[in-house]
Symmetry: C3
Subunit: 433 residues, 3 copies
């Protein structure tokens, strides 16, 4: 294949797979909007649209440079904005002499930016679900700005940006840790600081289930995410310009699908023994946990192993839903079980197929180091930022009154389904104390 054909195919792959990943933003929105109570289903839509916009702008202004430009082990450049190369601008302007210089890059500069940008948006989407129904809109937007401009890019610099973790041989193909666990740690820090929703965990130890506003909308969200995941993992090959790349991408899509399917199967089988009942939300999350699990190493030929990895991811997800309830951490959509715990599992599982760091044990140790380092950094940074926002904005949690009324009416003035008659909510006086 000629170098220009390779260039075009590589570039187009970034763009079309990237567009599919952008579509995952809609998936998170539907998943979260359907999962929250009806009184908060509008504001979560706004949060998701807003976070996608903020993430894109922040990653353009500073994020990408911190992550990829002149990375010196720990962090990249603080220069502002990012743009096509001079050679590309000259070529498009008609200077054909620049063509070979452009082609030498392998793909269009901005096509890579586009693909990386939709990934940072994914990380931010994970946070909104966990903190739903109680975080103030502006506090959330402020956190997203920091997460997408700094925290995520720093993790990215260590790894995909060729920083210190990358040099040690840490391997995370499409981001089980870099994207999903980063989002998960940030969400966990926020969930701990915010505390659970009113009445979620009773004094007698029982957990109050909160009714989802729309199960079909949640399901739609899961299907959107599954569909978009083909772009997420397939595009992470970062190339389509050779026979070998094409073969790899095909295997990646097959493994992605098998792992998701195995996650569904696992959750169907274990939700009753673990959770005490056949649980639709556990099964929907099982699909996502399977997908997260395979994300760190989808490029392998042992497809049966993708089934095993996805299945274990589904089991871990169901177990950790129960664990969070025990720990009284209120994660509205199960973002932490899906993205953090299954993400950790997926990153560990890399050691079975990848040997960038040496032996199985070497690779396993580096994977654990990476998981730990990212976890400590993201959790600590997020915790600090949440606390800072708490001080600066005078609180990150809505008032009890707002929580009772719902954020839609209180913060937006528009209910999600204003014409529909809703069940009256039952309140427990205990909650008001």
């Amino acid at each position: 294949m000629s170098p220009d054909a390779q260039f075009v195919l590589n570039t187009f792959a970034f763009l079309i797979w990237g567009a599919l990943v952008m579509w995952m933003a809609a998936g998170f929105t539907m998943l979260e909007s359907g999962s929250v109570r009806t009184k908060n289903a509008s504001v979560i839509c706004l949060k998701n649209l807003g976070l996608y916009a903020i993430a894109g702008l922040a990653f353009y202004v500073v994020g990408y440079n911190i992550m990829y430009v002149d990375v010196t082990g720990w962090i990249g450049s603080f220069s502002l904005f990012y743009t096509a190369s001079d050679a590309e601008i000259a070529l498009v302007g008609g200077n054909e002499a620049m063509k070979s210089e452009v082609i030498d890059n392998g793909y269009s500069v901005m096509s890579d930016w586009f693909f990386q940008m939709v990934f940072v948006a994914t990380a931010a989407s994970i946070v909104s679900g966990a903190l739903a129904e109680r975080i103030r809109l502006w506090a959330f937007f402020a956190f997203v700005l920091v997460l997408t401009a700094f925290i995520y890019p720093v993790v990215g610099a260590w790894t995909w940006g060729a920083g210190w973790l990358s040099e040690l041989g840490f391997s995370d193909f499409a981001g089980s840790t870099i994207v999903h666990s980063t989002g998960g740690w940030a969400a966990l820090a926020g969930a701990i600081i915010l505390g659970p929703r009113l009445g979620k965990f009773k004094k007698d130890g029982t957990v109050t289930p909160t009714p989802p506003s729309s199960v079909p909308i949640v399901t739609l969200g899961v299907f959107i995410l599954w569909f978009g995941w083909f772009g997420f993992n397939g595009g992470s090959q970062l190339a389509l310009g050779s026979v070998s790349d094409a073969v790899s991408v095909a295997g990646i899509l097959v493994n992605t699908n098998l792992a998701g399917a195995a996650g569904v199967l696992a959750a169907i089988l274990v939700s009753r023994p673990i959770l005490g009942g056949f649980d639709l939300f556990a099964i929907l999350n099982g699909a996502l946990a399977g997908l997260v699990s395979i994300t760190a190493a989808p490029a392998m030929h042992q497809h049966w192993l993708a089934i095993v990895i996805g299945f274990i991811g589904g089991v871990i997800c169901v177990l950790s839903i129960k664990l969070l309830d025990k720990l009284k951490v209120d994660d509205v959509v199960g973002a932490v079980p899906v993205h953090l715990f299954a993400g950790i599992w997926g990153t560990i599982a890399v050691a079975f197929t990848v040997r960038e760091a040496g032996s199985f044990v070497d690779q396993l140790l580096v994977q654990l180091l990476g998981i730990g380092a990212v976890g400590v950094f993201v959790f600590a940074a997020s915790f600090g930022v949440w606390k800072l926002i708490d001080v600066l904005l005078g609180g990150i949690r809505v008032t009890k009154t707002v929580e009772r009324i719902g954020q839609d009416a209180a913060e937006l003035g528009v209910d999600a389904y204003p014409e529909f008659v809703l069940m009256p909510e039952e309140y427990d006086d205990e909650d008001d104390k």
Copy 2:
């Protein structure tokens, strides 16, 4: 074009069109979830997510091999699992010497698997809609396992697997019969065994309309399916590596769209005279019937003929909605009119443009033979499997109490819209007899 560029384009076409076909699973889910009564809108989501997972795993473990590997007229291999070729694995592992052997296959082995896998899921999706609101969850999953592991692959072996029907010249480009009618026959067998929902057909001969839970969600499902159909038909060219292939795929997308549009138009025009009123569901199904009709032969240059075929498909759909009501067959979403009857029509219409079997009459006879053979096999096999599951699981239909309460509350414990106040249902004592 160089052979490696052809390889990459062929492979990529399988993957991207295949991803669009996977997205159709979401379309069926929305179509069905919106069409059923609110009390069953959650469980149909689970059925659809579950069937997609089961289909993918079953087709990986046995289905693909039965359909495509070593097919000897009637059936392929019973070997387990399926995987990339040794040459591909070696190439990705760095052995460039294997490149020409890999390229000789024309496309990545697993990209074809991926594309075929999403087709088997489509066939299974058709069944869930017809049997909604009364089939037990586990009975449905058990049937899907057999359908996707054996029944569909056998039909596929006869045809796309180069078996006996293929040798006779039977032509079904993207599967009007192989996918859609197969799903339709399986659904019909199930619907007959299950019987209609309580109160659907009154003793006085009237048909009770059942309220859909959400018309916008149904409409979303139709649009998703239409969108995905470009992948379904366009990808069935099975190649994108030549000028001729590209021209063909362009024509396929044009014909697909025109036939769908003509199906809409037909249903708009004939729903009032045939059904006694302007009928939104008939029109939505008209779109799908137009799309199913053109699926057997979308690769043609007579675009006006696509309009005619789609239009007739729309009319057939509306007529057969009425027919099923007369026969007291309760098909909740119209899956049999859309996928079986329009699928038969589309397979017949092939004779106007394809001559693999000889003259028009020869082709027509082979098409009818194929329709008949697939119909007899799938209907009989499905009937038998349903009966077997009936015995093994102690019934495939939920109890009257569960049907009254709704499967969501009874089987899942979670309503689709738990916070919304619903109209009380009116019961007829007659139903309880």
Copy 3:
């Protein structure tokens, strides 16, 4: 790259980007169905499915030829139907000798038709939202037929069809004016003739907000549109067969995304000062206004300028929402602010980066001329057609009784959410006068 590889890539780009634009039809459907009151949420689904079907058929029968074939300054050919070239048909038929003639066209003939067809559907989709809740179904379908068969193709002939505006140097890359403003002017003419919904504008000068049926469905629509816009703008490069094209398309997707994000940000910041409150619908429309604004010139390397253009588009959108209320023009979904006003702004902004007509001032004047000419023609033609339909069908507006009851019950006999209990509407006696 070899000419046949270029041909395949160009063709495939038309098809895959075009499929994404088709998906925007679902986006408009969701946006509009979620925005209208529940009593009209079914009929708007039918309108959108119907318009997509009518647009595709009309553009096939006459529209494309008027727009692109033998354009002589003002209008193209009135020949019927459109089809692949003889060379293409021969090549697919096996005549390899025709290959070079086919390749000379650069792309498959029907792939371009497909891409252009989905654009005309977009223009029609814009109209349905503005006139929702009061326009008669058949009157709307009749208008769509004329719009897509004649009005839009004439505008297209002047511009993309290489007619007089194109010769003057008018530049509108993906159709801020040609598609979006055309739809917007047609909508505005209809909205003026129809008048506002009952009770929308009170005698005391207040504007009655109408409750949306489903905010999450509206949000889904916005995300679908954003996703599809990558195809809308990226595909408008009309090529993918060279390094330069690939670089341009990458920049286009980046600018599209940044402008949409900036539109969100703008609306978040200005909706409170302008509209008196934080307004979710203004923010959702802000995203679309940002996307419309960049549509006329997304192929540029100054990405910061895309942010500026999108931001201003968002502000204009919010301002013009207020303006329409002042003028008592009832545009149910904000189609005129988004598609007409932001479209005009985007077309003006072209002058900052494009110089097809000469200097900045020359380009600006030609852009203004184009905006004016298209505006006068489309508004006048639409006004005339609406009036004609009014006479021929005996009215384009539903009766007060139908408007009270809702078009779903009155025109379709099926409510969008028939099982849900809705709030009783409050009526004002004033409305009945």
